[in-house]
């Protein structure tokens, strides 16, 4: 049994019937959305004036170099087991030739670095281990809330976290505040909204007068959301629509939010390639700070000359900001491929470049 595409087809026909006379730029901020849009081939069937733009939807891609350098330095002390979601291991940082540029390279040099796919794996490992275990966490609210839940539920004393966690909506707010932003509508991330609530995205309509719809990951939900924002745009009446109501409540998962607020506080945070965005990151709060690896261990990361920047020649910063499409990068498909990635957007499963490559775009435009 396959997804019933008759509903999706009906949405598509309704979109095709809309009088869209000027280009409309619709941004998504979720690697899962970009993956669905690309794999379903929606760019090929939508009216040419509908431009789908991947935005800052990849937490691995925006994890700052200083945090990666800290994780590498800590792993290289040899005193800890460092665990991280698999994507993080191959993300390269700028470092002088011969120095360790990624967690994978640190592992090759003997550091105890292991990929995990769930916070419970970190807990299980720490329970069995005599050694300190450090969980390096890059992620949005969908990952940060489980990490807060993990700590709130209780963890072994030898487990600590190195946080590079980010909030999604402040990055969108920062993008829209930019007078050069040429965005006409937003598709809001379905699983972030499942945790934090659809209402969190109301500011797009209220503050910026732009159409916004929360979407899930099926063709039905994505096309319904696209239809909604296009229609809002044509009618000049933007509002917050929810096209993933089966999972997303207006107020979200309140228990998860309470866990998050109890364990973490919101701080200013640096985004790789973007810069510091006010109140866009998480840090451990109060008594929970004793689980902060930065408080527990002494390690000296190499000072970096080009903090916050992407590798030379790499357009990941512009790609993350939606200013360039992946295939507009000079390195795409030539110097930079999933086998030999230069920038983080080609490394991560949620990076737009990796997703486009898997979707069949194999050369620069």
């Amino acid at each position: 049994m396959k997804e019933d595409f008759t509903i999706a087809r009906a949405w598509l026909e309704r979109i095709q019937a809309l009088p869209i006379e000027h280009p409309v730029a619709v941004m998504n901020v979720c690697g899962g959305h970009e993956r669905s849009l690309t794999q379903l081939g929606l760019r090929g069937v939508l009216p040419p004036n509908v431009k789908l733009i991947p935005g800052p939807g990849c937490p691995v891609c925006v994890c700052p170099e200083e945090d990666l350098a800290d994780a590498i330095a800590l792993a290289l002390t040899g005193k800890v087991t460092l665990v991280a979601f698999g994507d993080m291991l191959r993300v390269p940082i700028n470092a002088p030739k011969g120095e360790v540029r990624s967690l994978a390279e640190a592992r090759a040099k003997g550091a105890d670095v292991r990929p995990i796919s769930s916070p419970q794996e970190a807990v299980a490992l720490a329970t069995k281990s005599e050694k300190p275990v450090v969980f390096f966490v890059a992620g949005f609210e969908t990952t940060t809330a489980p990490v807060a839940a993990m700590l709130a539920q209780g963890v072994p004393e030898n487990l600590s976290v190195l946080l590079a966690a980010r909030l999604t909506w402040p990055a969108v707010d920062a993008l829209l505040r930019d007078p050069e932003a040429r965005l006409d509508a937003l598709i809001a991330p379905g699983h972030v909204a499942t945790v934090m609530g659809a209402n969190e995205w109301g500011f797009v309509a209220d503050k910026y007068h732009l159409p916004v719809a929360v979407a899930g990951f099926s063709a039905n939900s994505l096309l319904a959301a696209l239809y909604s924002v296009l229609r809002q745009k044509l009618e000049g009446k933007p509002f917050l629509d929810n096209c993933y109501a089966e999972l997303v409540a207006p107020e979200g998962n309140k228990r998860a939010q309470a866990l998050l607020a109890g364990v973490m506080e919101v701080t200013d945070a640096n985004w790789r390639g973007i810069g510091v965005i006010p109140r866009s990151g998480f840090a451990l709060r109060g008594e929970w700070r004793r689980y902060d690896a930065r408080e527990r261990f002494e390690f000296a990361a190499q000072p970096r000359r080009r903090t916050g920047e992407m590798p030379p020649g790499c357009d990941c910063a512009a790609v993350v900001l939606g200013k360039k499409q992946p295939d507009q990068c000079r390195l795409y498909g030539k110097a930079c491929t999933p086998q030999n990635p230069v920038g983080p957007c080609m490394v991560s499963d949620e990076g737009a470049c990796h997703i486009w490559w898997q979707g069949g775009t194999r050369a620069a435009a």
Binding site: S36, A152, P189, S218, N253, R255
Partner: protein, 76 residues
């Protein structure tokens, strides 16, 4: 990392649930939704080993079909 996977609850022990999806079993934490919110046989959307929210069987089925399609297309 935001790609959630719908799973069916097979057994519950406190905040831990044994969940199944397409023959694969996994221990899923119910800590983010509360232990009395879900019963054996229910479907949950799972992300990094934590249930984010309960879902209907129909929504679970639709998500899985999308997932299959993506895996098929991405298979290389």
């Amino acid at each position: 990392m935001c790609l959630g996977i719908p799973m069916q609850v097979v057994a519950i022990d406190g905040f831990n649930a044994e969940c199944e999806a397409r023959g694969v079993m996994r221990t899923v934490s119910l800590f983010m939704i509360g232990e009395n919110e879900v019963a054996v046989g229910d479907y949950v959307m799972v992300h990094v080993g934590y249930a984010l929210r309960k879902m209907t069987p129909e929504d679970a089925r639709l998500s899985w079909e999308l997932f299959d399609e993506i895996l098929e297309a991405a298979g290389e």
